[in-house]
């Protein structure tokens, strides 16, 4: 399966269309997806996402390729929004398609856990007109480490 696996990686300022992304993954016997939404924690009005153009797409492609190889996926997708966004908007989407559910579910978790530590994105929250850079969390490192 991995020989013809479909890898889709996109870094975009546009809204993420989960219906389109789901359909793009629908092959094999099982599709698992994760969608992350912007939280309104502590009165966050706007979330801004900065990234490292070129390096971001390369890092996401490497992750998707690793997932395809490790779980023999038929498809893997990673879509990440950048630029300004509001609470409730979709910020990230990962998806994996496989013959059976276990591989699809595990691969989907791998993609989002490792994306958090391996891809060059930075979040800046705007609260009450003041901007502040979000600090990295140790819990994200631990979540990513379980796949190493």
């Amino acid at each position: 399966m991995s020989d013809q696996a479909i890898i889709r990686v996109l870094v975009t300022t546009e809204a993420i269309d989960v219906a389109v992304e789901q359909i793009a993954l629908e092959q094999g016997g099982a599709v698992a997806t994760f969608t992350g939404l912007v939280r309104a924690d502590d009165g966050v009005a706007t979330l801004e996402l900065e990234h490292y153009p070129g390096a971001t797409e390369a890092a996401l492609t490497r992750l998707a390729e690793e997932a395809v190889e490790r779980w023999s996926l038929s498809a893997a997708s990673i879509i990440h929004r950048v630029g300004p966004m509001q609470p409730g908007e979709r910020i990230v989407f990962t998806g994996a398609a496989s013959a059976h559910r276990a591989a699809a579910l595990e691969a989907c978790a791998f993609l989002i856990d490792r994306l958090k530590t391996d891809a060059p994105f930075w979040k800046r929250e705007v609260v009450g007109g003041e901007g502040r850079w979000v600090e990295a969390r140790d819990s994200d490192d631990h979540a990513a480490d379980r796949w190493r």
């Binding site: 994306l115 391996d118 891809a119 930075w122 979040k123």
Partner: protein
Amino acid sequence: MQLLYFAWVRERIGLGAEEVDPPVTIATVADLIAWLSSRSDGHAAAFADPARLRAAIDQAFVPLDTSVVGAREVAIFPPVTGG
């Protein structure tokens, strides 16, 4: 050598990118950071605590003790917070 800065590193320095020609004594990313600190008050502020910095050489993440010899592009930034 092309340098790229992101997030609060970029903001403190006041630049997203700059071209530098480090002396031959600069062997690693950590050496480069120490050398860059003297370029301006902004550089000094951005690089005051190297433990809070991460780096990439030619678009691949590397530890700060990695050699910069032959590097074309070095990026310096805070720990990543995507997803």
